[in-house]
């Protein structure tokens, strides 16, 4: 029994891991395609039909490029940087519930790698670890631009983690649970948290952009000022890891947003569909819905990137400390008051 459980989890984690890598891989193509479409171009269309093999070609290019480690850099940390970045990006998806329990081969399997009761805190921990990859990489490069990028990444992530956490506190007042499984279950049908926490969602969304270093918060790697930011000195697959980590982060934070605020695998009329499709295909449909939401968020990330210009550094700090934090605190107070009034003290 124990062995069966271990095998089951192992297979599930492998599938999820491969799936998130695949999504991240094709996000790179999607990004270029969407960028092209938004700018009246057609995007990469040479590798395979419609450019479908472009990510593979990019990957092969990354692997074949010359690997350069600057002589004055700290070699160990220089390699540790991108490794840490990709590691923290990959382990984030462990607590995300991908669907309801599924009946497969006569067994009930939970579509979640692990349901720890502090799921949100785990996500937070992993996300804040992610900045170490950038910081270490930037510092070990022994390059002014890299260091500037690393400093910006660190200060930006620290500033935006606070409003992000505060917006989550307001959400927890509604859900009464830190477990992502519970939160997803509570949003059964169409009772999505975004209707109870619209302001909290907005704050979380803005902070998610900052945490994943996406435009308009891509100051750590802004090309116009810092060459390549923290990855100026990187080449070959180490650069690829940094870039890839960004896309995995985007996937994970899209999944977290979909789970926390947009009902995860829940959709209106899911009870009817579940009774129609049975215990195997019903949850699979739920999973498909979750992935649809995730792709919608990823598209949103890219849409914003090709629309909005980058913040100036002081504007970034102003927004974080003077706008988002007071707003998040006000949101907590408001939520607390309403919850108390509804529940009758």
């Amino acid at each position: 029994m124990e062995i069966a459980f271990v095998i089951e989890k192992f297979v599930f984690i492998t599938v999820i891991f491969a799936l998130s890598l695949l999504v991240a891989m094709y996000s790179t193509l999607a990004e270029r395609k969407i960028a092209a479409f938004l700018q009246d171009r057609v995007g990469p269309n040479r590798a395979g039909p419609g450019g479908i093999l472009q990510p593979l070609a990019d990957g092969v290019k990354m692997f074949l490029k010359e690997e350069i480690i600057p002589t004055q850099s700290n070699k160990f940390l220089f390699i540790a940087g991108p490794s840490l970045a990709i590691l923290t990006a990959c382990i984030g998806s462990a607590v995300i519930p991908w669907g309801q329990d599924i009946q497969l081969f006569g067994k009930t399997i939970a579509l979640q790698a692990t349901d720890i009761n502090v799921g949100i805190l785990y996500i937070f921990g992993v996300v804040s670890l992610g900045v170490y990859g950038i910081m270490i990489g930037g510092w070990a490069s022994n390059n002014k631009f890299s260091l500037m990028g690393a400093i910006r990444a660190a200060s930006q992530n620290i500033s935006y983690e606070i409003p992000m956490g505060l917006s989550i506190i307001a959400l927890l007042l509604v859900t009464n649970s830190l477990s992502l499984k519970d939160i997803a279950e509570q949003q059964h049908g169409f009772q999505w948290n975004v209707f109870y926490q619209p302001l909290g969602f907005l704050i979380f969304l803005v902070c998610a952009f900052a945490e994943t270093n996406r435009t308009p918060f891509d100051l750590p790697e802004c090309e116009t000022e810092l060459v390549g930011g923290y990855h100026t000195e990187y080449s070959s697959m180490k650069l690829g890891f940094f870039l890839f980590a960004e896309y995995i982060n985007m996937f994970v934070s899209s999944a977290v947003m979909a789970t926390l605020y947009f009902g995860g695998y829940n959709y209106p009329g899911m009870d009817y569909m579940n009774s129609l499709l049975g215990p195997t295909f019903g949850p699979l449909l739920g999973m498909a819905v979750l992935f649809l939401k995730i792709f919608a968020f990823i598209f949103f990330f890219m849409w914003v990137r090709w629309t909005i210009p980058r913040f100036r550094y002081d504007q970034l700090m102003n927004l974080g400390w003077k706008v988002l934090i007071p707003l998040a605190i006000a949101n907590i107070v408001l939520t607390g008051l309403v919850t108390a009034l509804v529940n009758g003290f």
């Binding site: 938004l38 009246d40 171009r41 057609v42 629309t307 909005i308």
Partner: protein, 168 residues
């Protein structure tokens, strides 16, 4: 001073109101614009397969023309080289021998005729200067190359193919 036209637009710089300071309406407006562009027809020309048409007065690579009998028109008078502001053209003249009447139109011809494509500015003054209508800039884009010496185009690249060869 009185304005001469009414085209000048006076912009007021008011302090932003609450909605403007929130930036969100402006952001949504911008995103709506970019979203609309997703469905617009694309301007892309798929280059190697499709080539954009050149304009009527396009000046490309030079070609040395032949007359209706397939004889080279150039008499090596040197007016093109003289008119060239970039000094890209050089030539060596030679006298036509007996039995070469089917090759060269006049008694004098250019034994070598070289244009340095790196110097050429494609102004078309050689074309204008030529009294024999022997040189025209009606070719394609001059292709890229690796070595400087390969950009000096001789007669092998410049002279028009004989009519017999073209119809083949």
């Amino acid at each position: 001073m009185e304005a001469l036209s009414n085209r000048k637009k006076v912009l007021e710089q008011k302090p932003m109101n609450f909605w403007e300071r929130m930036y969100l309406p402006a952001i949504f407006k911008g995103m709506a614009i970019t979203f609309r562009h997703m469905f617009k027809p694309k301007e892309t020309v798929f280059y190697p397969e499709v080539q954009r048409e050149f304009s009527e007065n396009w000046r490309g690579m030079h070609s040395l023309k032949r007359d209706e009998d397939g004889r080279e028109r150039c008499t090596a008078c040197g007016l093109c080289a003289l008119s060239c502001p970039a000094e890209a053209i050089t030539m060596v003249a030679a006298e036509r021998k007996k039995g070469e009447e089917h090759l060269y139109r006049e008694e004098k011809y250019a034994a070598t005729y070289e244009i340095n494509m790196l110097r050429c500015i494609f102004c078309g003054l050689c074309e204008e200067a030529c009294p024999k209508e022997a040189i025209y800039l009606d070719g394609p884009i001059v292709p890229a190359d690796y070595l400087r010496k390969d950009f000096i185009y001789g007669k092998d690249k410049l002279v028009e193919k004989p009519l017999t060869e073209l119809t083949k």
